[in-house]
Subunit: 343 residues, 2 copies
DNA sequence: TATCAGCGCTAATACGCATTAGCAGATTTT
DNA sequence: AAAATCTGCTAATGCGTATTAGCGCTGATA
């Protein structure tokens, strides 16, 4: 560690030229580089090669505006295993796109307990722009970001916060509506909804897609809560005469499905189940629920590309929703004849 | 984007003081900060609060040496799904430790097809030090790293490269030896080894732990290759009269186990199987192989802590191996009486 | 012969911050 | 009353680079 880093001044001294000349040799813009004859250029380059000199990116950044670094900010830690399956696909897309575009990623770990973008020691600004991941999102910080001049893109749709928020989200509204239509096409007209209908945008979107798509079907039961006792939920569903139930939470669907199976109620024979969204490795629980898939990797990619557009070309705010493909699954079936008779 | 970033000069102007005073208010070293009376300090801090000013970390880094950023370099992309299970646990540990120590992570994506540390535009140096992940490792680059003055720590044991390499590795030698002893204790003395015994350090370590631990047992069959036809491998094992076989690759073990089951050969009744290492979610294939676990998360943590030690205190090179706990599993059993008779 | 245009390079500056040296005025000491 | 000390600040500098302005020189042009 004793040896100090090499600088352009050192190279200049060794090559018998000035620091400016070294700089020109390194990043010869056509106009200026041409003015340096091959002989001098070779001499300088030889010294650079011999010494293994590399320009200090920090100093570089001082002069130019940009750093070719994108920040990735998450309000929750990105890797801890509980979150890993959630965050990993996004990061996958982000990393691939960043690599293709020639950017590195600065992972902001949030220095303290509470993660904040506008904190005391915000190293975020080291990046040229930033991608924001995570379900929770401090409204005030979002507002400040929108108001500020630091380029960012959110992964996931966001309501306006003192202005439109640039984002790449999932088309949950359309995906949900498509699933409802599918259920309707299969004859279901006594439908139920289990899950929150307010809070985060991603949650609200399910409900926004759901209700209008009913289109005359009867919403016989709603439960705007999650993680309730599955037995009671099932009782309520049956009492209401629902033939098809939509869950926002996979976990709830799994629990209710298990109870139903235990009681000899056939899914989808007696009751169809639809889940509004998917999870990685959903297959592990042995049931392929009818749902839509969230294109997490593509969202990460698109957000990265959008961010670079904003950083490099000062592009205007964009808001993009990516399609959520329907996952057929085994839990949505046609209305049984028995139900048809009962109605 | 029209509004330029705020600088200390702006704050100074607004507060009616000099830029130096603003700097003192921000990072008041006890001696100097005391010289600024509370009145002035409050005035400056109010402006800072009102404007939301944050110091540019790049400029900061220009002056001080450090940035509180650790680079994470991987020769392979870190997230793509095939690698995700491999890299994620390391990153988990790295991120947690970095967060605790107050560092951010710079993920180096490798600009082109071939990832190199010493490239044309090495952004690595923006970090204070760097952690190197990945199975493949360019020998020349490692040598240059060792020779250079840039602090780094490798995850995984590395042979000397013009000097000792600082690393945090897994105790594969000891783990392998422990498994061999376990097999011996169960009566096995006709043992086989399937897998490479040269190449990467992690591979070599298995063999190094394996052979001496035989301690008189007969090595009746070796196959220094992976991904061979499992049927043929099994034939060879049986022909050699092996009662216990060690695999370096989980995939090979799975394949041979499947063929054995298909042929009605009992594992571990007729043949015990040991795998030298584990994989996340190994349970998915439905077989709990006897093996040792690789403490990936702990390795990430330890490497990060070691790196910070090197960065902050210029600590000497350390080489650490973390214990690999034995995973009991279901595939190593006592020598069957039939085998005992045969011998 | 004086002027001008190119050539090959260098001096000087700015980027935003931390930090050292130091200045003017007030207060205390001798 | 002069000297020393303290108080509250600012000027100036350097970190390593990119870049603009410009200098001294040669050869061509007027």
């Amino acid at each position: 560690m004793a040896t100090r880093r090499l600088t352009q001044k050192d190279i200049a001294r060794l090559a018998g030229v000035s620091q400016a000349t070294v700089s020109f040799v390194l990043n010869g813009s056509p106009e200026n580089a041409n003015r340096i004859p091959a002989e001098t250029r070779d001499r300088v380059q030889k010294v650079i090669r011999d010494t293994g000199y590399v320009a200090d990116p920090v100093a570089r950044r001082m002069v130019k505006g940009l750093n070719r670094i994108l920040g990735v900010f998450t309000y929750e830690p990105a890797f801890p295993s509980a979150q890993a399956d959630f965050f990993t696909p996004f990061l996958l897309g982000i990393e691939e796109a960043a690599q293709e575009l020639g950017y590195d990623l600065l992972l902001l770990t949030g220095a303290g307990v509470k993660r904040r973008i506008f904190g005391d020691n915000v190293r975020l600004r080291l990046a040229d722009g930033c991608i924001i991941l995570g379900r929770q999102f401090d409204r005030d910080e979002l507002t400040r970001l929108v108001a500020g001049d630091f380029p960012f893109v959110a992964v996931g749709r966001r309501d306006d916060a003192g202005g439109p928020v640039p984002y790449v989200g999932g088309g949950y509204v359309a995906g949900t509506a498509a699933l409802v239509q599918r259920a309707r096409a299969l004859g279901h007209h006594r439908i139920a909804y289990i899950g929150l209908n307010e809070g985060a945008e991603s949650t609200v979107d399910r409900w926004i897609g759901f209700e209008p798509a009913l289109n005359g079907a009867e919403l016989v039961h709603t439960q705007f809560a999650v993680a309730q006792p599955p037995g009671e939920t099932l009782d309520a569903l049956l009492a209401a005469g629902a033939t098809c139930v939509f869950f926002t939470e996979l976990a709830d669907a799994i629990a209710v499905d298990a109870v139903a199976r235990h009681r000899g109620i056939s899914v989808p024979g007696d009751l169809s189940i639809v889940v509004l969204g998917n999870h990685i490795r959903a297959e592990e629980h042995g049931r392929r629920f009818t749902s839509f898939s969230i294109p997490r990797e593509a969202m990460g990619r698109a957000a990265t590309e959008m961010l670079v557009r904003r950083v490099e070309n000062d592009a205007p705010v964009e808001q993009v929703l990516l399609d959520c493909a329907i996952v057929e699954g085994d839990t949505l079936g046609p209305l049984s004849t028995q139900h048809v008779r009962n109605t």
